[in-house]
Symmetry: C2
Subunit: 815 residues, 2 copies
Amino acid sequence: MPEDTRLPEAAPYPPEELELDLRWWAAANYLTVGQIYLRANPLLHEPLALEHTKPRLLGHWGTSPGLSMIYAILNRRIRETDTDWLYVTGPGHGGPALVAAAWLEGTYSEVYPHIGDDAEGVLQLFRQFSSPGGIPSHVSVQTPGSIHEGGELGYALVHAAGAAFDHPDLVVACVVGDGEAETGPLAASWRLPSFLNPRRDGAVLPILHVNGYKIAGPTVLGRTSDADVEGYLRSQGWDPVTVSGDDPDLVFPALRAALARSHDRIRELQASARAAGAPAEAVRHSWPAIVLRTPKGWTGPSVVDGKQVEGTNLSHQVPLSGLASDPEHLRMLEEWLHSYRPEELFDADGRLVSELRALAPDGDKRMSATPYANGGRLRTELPIPALAAYEVTLDAATRGQSMVENTITAGRLMRDVYAATTTADGGGTFRLFSPDETASNRLQPVFEVTDRCFMGPLRDTDEQLGPDGRVMEVLSEHLCEGWLEGYLLSGRHGVFATYESFAMVSASMAVQHVKWLQHARELPWRADVSSLNVLLTSTCWRNDHNGFSHQGPGLIDCLIPLSPEVVRVWLPPDANTTLSITDHCLRSTNHVNLIVVDKQKHLQYLTLEEAHAHCAAGAGVWDWASTCNRDEEPDIVLACAGDVPTQEALAAVELLAEHVPDLRVRFVNVVDLMALLPENDHPHGFPDSTFDDLFTSSRHVVFAFHGYPRAVHQLIHGRSNPGRFHVRGFNEQGTTTTPFDMVVLNRMSRFHLAHEVLRRADRRVAGWDTLTELCERRLAEHRPYIEEHLEDLPDIADWTWRGLDSRPATDGSGR
Amino acid sequence: MPEDTRLPEAAPYPPEELELDLRWWAAANYLTVGQIYLRANPLLHEPLALEHTKPRLLGHWGTSPGLSMIYAILNRRIRETDTDWLYVTGPGHGGPALVAAAWLEGTYSEVYPHIGDDAEGVLQLFRQFSSPGGIPSHVSVQTPGSIHEGGELGYALVHAAGAAFDHPDLVVACVVGDGEAETGPLAASWRLPSFLNPRRDGAVLPILHVNGYKIAGPTVLGRTSDADVEGYLRSQGWDPVTVSGDDPDLVFPALRAALARSHDRIRELQASARAAGAPAEAVRHSWPAIVLRTPKGWTGPSVVDGKQVEGTNLSHQVPLSGLASDPEHLRMLEEWLHSYRPEELFDADGRLVSELRALAPDGDKRMSATPYANGGRLRTELPIPALAAYEVTLDAATRGQSMVENTITAGRLMRDVYAATTTADGGGTFRLFSPDETASNRLQPVFEVTDRCFMGPLRDTDEQLGPDGRVMEVLSEHLCEGWLEGYLLSGRHGVFATYESFAMVSASMAVQHVKWLQHARELPWRADVSSLNVLLTSTCWRNDHNGFSHQGPGLIDCLIPLSPEVVRVWLPPDANTTLSITDHCLRSTNHVNLIVVDKQKHLQYLTLEEAHAHCAAGAGVWDWASTCNRDEEPDIVLACAGDVPTQEALAAVELLAEHVPDLRVRFVNVVDLMALLPENDHPHGFPDSTFDDLFTSSRHVVFAFHGYPRAVHQLIHGRSNPGRFHVRGFNEQGTTTTPFDMVVLNRMSRFHLAHEVLRRADRRVAGWDTLTELCERRLAEHRPYIEEHLEDLPDIADWTWRGLDSRPATDGSGR
């Protein structure tokens, strides 16, 4: 049980206000218990009988009363100050409490008209809970007022932060559970004060709710002293106050005072930071935070079957069970429900009594109705400049000749998006998030117009750094991804750029975000939000001094099985396609766009106009790289997806054109990976006719792929004779070596591809033996060359092109 | 730059010892710089010329000198106290420093005889670094003395903890970088004192190395005051001391004193905890920790081209570049190298001078040679009891009738493994790691012999909890996975049991561990370690009150593209197969075993003897569930993998047997998923002859699969006519609903399977229309039934079996 009640300061709480808030709390608790237990007799208009209870009891009681208490007191604060608050529920299983609050505020019935505001509505509210086709026990997409799924724990504070960025008038009350506090992402996210700027950002008010227990035992913080919990927060830039107790008459005033003090302090420090000419010291400070210790399962059954339940983990889920076999438990349940005096909370029709109804803030000020939790309502279109200014120019003569860093066009575009969206006060609607790699990823043009955001003290040697910087760099993929998720779900735009291999660190978050968007699409009241754009720029094919641990294209495999309505995977082969794709992704809504393109210099193939057409199509034949005309049936198809695979495939075509000119090779490049799926399986999926028009219906296809080869095999299942596809890709052969050695190790080099084309071609054309022998010889020579030269490979071109006998076709004609 | 030098206490450092240690440090730094820059003239026996330098400069200098300083002083401590230390290098890019240390101690030449201990060896050491086919710039599998890959940051402290558990005589010096400290997993892992028991465990001494910068800017801790950094650690159970400065003559003594004080304190508190009858207070305490602030790139070029490099992020990688174009830079490099006075460090042959050589501890006490970092040398076989005691008994009459929780056999086996491995002092060689779900996962038999480990204060109401508990529960998949990795790599055994969906949280760690094992297998000096066993028990098919966020089989898709030498995926259909697989996995080495089996009650199909045979085969025909004889060519194959799919497939066979008795259906169950891969692609992959013997070479195969259906399609590429496989599985349709509704939503129900079998069967047998109509009717009835009944489904059996018209075949004969 918590320690003695601690009152942070004298707290005025007129008795009539306290009494009302306690009754609202009772109503929330009643509705929470009802959701878990009742399927009939929802307002106890008759004595409770077994048949009124659900046969299978599911739900989480333990955390709920605390969540509702905070909600009740915040509502009063909102009405008093007419301010915008968003409620982020870290203790995810407190779903019934948040559903109850939304119902009490009227939002639930507005959003779901089949759940009315009367007794029948209460019954439906109860029946849908944890029922087939109903709602889960955790806070979910379906919960009005939520931007935060209560499943995979750890992201409460990052989602809260993302919502607060660039929303200067918003306060995000973020309840963090002491279970969740043990997770990695949550632990790291306490560093928010190093990145939150009171001049342009809203505030996050963390309420660390220590009820002491997880499902099966105590939490670490539950057995940590107040001094250490406060010290933990204080050392990370917070100014905490602890509220502790188990007597509502004492805890309510204490928490109200703590909330008022925190809110006042937030407004003070925002005001001083926003004052004209405010010095840096006014911008850097500790933010208020609250530590709240109340009993788990508070107001529920205290002791059941001789065991302490209230205040222990035994109240985590269903504190009273076995109702059918134990009449005493049924009686205790009835007593528990009656303890909230439902007859004083609801009128004869089951409607919330008017004086409690009046406790809800007005309209959009209700936390369950705030547009900040339904960001599409706040979202404005991103002003994206015309792309012509960023085009990498090339023509038939320079196609496949010049080398450009493929991501640099995206960097310049984002620079100008920053410029177009940054407001006079330093705010805006667009941010780039990256673990310390913006410049490394060749996105450094953004630093021409903004800096990295950092709230810590600055030094003379610092560059491109400061509190007003709008590029978010922190060495945590979890924070980057989570901040961006919160930023998007509250109505803004952004990009998360990171290392391909280490994108796996936050893969589970991307998966959960896909799930969120998938279900959000089904809810008409949720407005469209900007897509989550993940840009992977240091890929498996090029790692220089880094080794095998830095090489892994696995995020593609994580995403492709997920919702086809949401997931898009883009593999642009050059800078103009990267530009076109980036533009498309920044405009799109409700998707998770994975863009994979290497940051290093690569050959350039398409003009911007060609790139637009190619990306819009998703895949296409490159006539200029084919050795037969488009209307001819080829002997074989050579396909590719991704920048390095495209380069190797083009080099293979060059070899084939030179040595086996009679072989008809069609060259296909795929930008939109999901286009490979059948049209019934994905909105971008090609109809069979389109697919066969590209790949033929029966010819062998040698396919050079950016990721794991079998990813392509899973996508093309259902196409005619999928066994004719022979995919080369990243085969988990990695080490510190040259890019060309990487494609050799993974058997995707030009020589492997040309060799495979010859092997699969049905016709034994002139030159077949010569080229076969050449490929085998080149590959046989390769390892000795590498071993002999070791560090002796002088520059990037050689690292890239060692072994290339000739350049890709450049004349634009189908040879 | 760091603040003024802080001396924790008066530190005796005889001048001759200090001078020697500074020279050893100079040697380490020299070798570090040499690895980055030199390809000839390794010991500067002639003036440095451009052609002596590498054409492409790759590597990370910044963190290296700090790592080497710690190493040097620890070596002295080890020699003084004759104790076992393990060095975990969190700042991953400090690879050259650790390679240098291993060379200086002689270990490198012992392990890699082609890198000798003389000038030629030094040259080879330099040439291999960041070179094709050489070693990466980060600490890697190839680095002697490491259990920790320096790529994906965040796991230093969890790996260190895993190594310390149950190694009472070991001290793990864990250097944590201030960049890494921003990651989630690292932030959470500071809670170690709540789980480390001085009675039976070794110690972890964190050395938080704050050099202030990441690659492109300052770290959060770099701009945090000493008081706050110390407060952060103190509040989490550490007793930190700060050492800060940039004058080696002052910092060396300060750090030596801090290390001595910390080590002494560790030994004191271990002694008091281990004393007979020591009270709980003696077991719970704060552990020593060191905060070390030294300049990034210390002893390197101070200012380059007018910019401060030493002490800023500009020293992160290569502080001096452009040697070919800037002779001044080449001159500065030469001066930098000479500043270490190599002529006083190495003799004429390039061997380390004897007085520095003598600074290395003896034999296995060298941190680069410790068996604790090569855990296979310490590993003993796990005493696994005979399995008969755990068998779920069944015979032909009860096959497919009784319901048992599939994981309960594994729980009982682990209970007895605990009993057999726990030593008198409470230590042992086996641990189970789980985020708070051991009992929920039906592994609760382990609590008959041990408790959950918790070092915090206990309360009267606590159950199965205490400092001597050997089950590790913490609400962080990262900590569970990382602790287990460290535990295994230092020579022990264990299991990580978690929720299937949330296993994605630590998916990147599992991927990295596969990579580690893949490369470790290639190193003859690395001894075999126990496999990483991941048991997923709350699966996508059964989530009760949890919703879509809790449903995701994606870890399968993450692992199957990885090294076939390492990855195994097991899908046991019942309790005896689970037992057989668990036994196999616990005995295996060098693998990552993913075992997916639902914790809920399921029908039982195989005796233990049958289970052994079936699991050993990997997949097999179940004659008793087929409707034709084994030697007959079937009309169609009905295959399945996983518990719920097996149940539905069996129910489908029942329908088929009843309604279309003339249809020849062969029933195939797959336990070992990787057996589906071609034999050249995986050691478990079936030869085509075996594959075709099971699945025929041309018949349609309807396949009910536990995970995403296209996972099967990617595995069977290369088999004859893969288009004939029609896979049903988890199609990302999830919600809060009944298990039967889940299989309907995902179109894998018995009715879907039977319907698909009929649709694909080449023969239109008698009863075809009747059963087709029945399946369609049942499915048409299903949703109205669900919607009508909502929470009205009374018990688990109905939740599972609603819609089942008949039971699976039970007579054991091929009907």
